[in-house]
């Protein structure tokens, strides 16, 4: 299991039976493959469908049925297709229980910056701003740092995707919850110390009295 798989597998534990979940492109997409069979999870794709099935076999792709990255997918038997206005009605209307997405930066106020590096990379926000504002729970799934740079900050330096919306951060080093008091470290990776996590986290971590080891 590589780092990304480790993170995705831990995020999968957050998904509860009956949840409607939207997974972002990249690492978050991997979460689906770690959901255990005892849970009935409905995956929403913002381009207009509910009910993601297993990845299609090579040669059997249906190019009319894709995810928000434009990649062919399959649909579960209870699947539904709809237009983008309906899709974002679902998203903004609070009908998605959990959205999982990657990020460039997150800060202790739950602010998130993941759509633009001015002057360098301007992919656009796509559906991220709506997802982060609309979903009941926002989980950021990302590597703890990027090329040695810290990503969990006191205050995001990049333009915000949304303000005060992140609920949880899952990295290869730990699980963190955004609380009114700041970032609460609730779980820590095996063979890792709190000091090691703090060292690569700009925001001051609050350590849970009940700190557990990530069980992935």
């Amino acid at each position: 299991m590589n780092i990304k798989e480790f993170i995705a597998k831990r995020v999968a534990q957050e998904l509860k039976d009956g949840n409607v979940v939207n997974l972002g492109i990249g690492l978050p997409t991997m979460v689906a493959s770690f959901v255990t069979d005892d849970k009935d999870i409905t995956f929403q794709s913002e381009n207009g469908m509910l009910g993601l099935g297993p990845a299609p076999k090579e040669g059997e792709e249906d190019f009319d049925l894709t995810n928000a990255g434009g990649m062919p997918i399959t649909m579960s038997t209870d699947g539904v297709c709809f237009d983008s206005a309906t899709s974002f009605g679902i998203i903004r209307g609070g009908h998605v229980d959990i959205t999982v997405l990657g990020s460039l930066q997150v800060d202790e106020k739950g602010n998130i910056s993941n759509w633009i590096i001015p002057g360098k990379m301007v992919p656009g926000m796509g559906g991220a701003m709506d997802l982060v504002v609309g979903a009941k729970k926002v989980i950021v799934a990302m590597t703890h740092t990027a090329k040695g740079k810290m990503k969990i900050l006191k205050k995001c330096t990049l333009p915000f995707t949304a303000v005060n919306q992140v609920n949880m951060i899952v990295t290869e080093l730990g699980v963190m919850e955004i609380t009114p008091e700041g970032i609460l470290l609730t779980e820590i990776a095996p063979d890792t110390t709190v000091e090691q996590v703090q060292e690569v986290t700009e925001a001051k971590l609050i350590i849970s009295d009940n700190l557990k080891t990530m069980n992935v």
């Binding site: 049925l65 297709c81 990379m121 301007v122 656009g124 701003m129 709506d130």
Partner: protein
Amino acid sequence: MKKIIDKSEFISKLKNGMSIMVGGFMVVGTPENLIEEIVKSDIKDLTIICNDAGLPNKGVGKLISAGKVKKLIASHIGLNPEAGKRMSEGTMEVELVPQGTLVEQIRSGGAGLGGFLTPTGLGTIVQEGKEIIEVEGEKFLLEKPLKADIALLLGHKVDEKGNTIYSKTTRNFNPMMATACEIVIVEAREVVSIGDLNPDNIVTPHIFVDYIVKGDK
């Protein structure tokens, strides 16, 4: 009225400088045959409204690569490096809009609304220049309706009158765009007879469709 036209008649509907909404999401649901006709034509200086910038050689990306797009209004351009390049160079203006806001702006345009209040974008640079309105203690951005001269859509089955159904996730922005443009042109994968589509399943009613161009199946 005869709605079915051929590709050359299609091009005669376009003019330089027009605003065009193009259906599709990462090129899925984009009318490639219509795009190809525009690439081959002299039409230029277009304002394109689309979910994204397509790919360099597919969807609206082809129009961008051909230098025909003066301005792009989209939610995402990340999969088309050519779009990013032209944006940085300043040869194409890009307006980035949150996806849910973009589709709702188009819906508002088509539905005769003066706009809507959304929480999306609050506290971000999307908020710049926009009115903030408080409703029952909550803050929202006022977003305005969006319309265009032409809509180019991809229909899966289209009857001779223009009633249209879409296939799976090719639907995306297409139905909203059908309501928000002066002239609506559907590329039909298949043209069927009037009465072949179940009235309960038709997504875009014929009254929105001005022209039908037969595409590939």
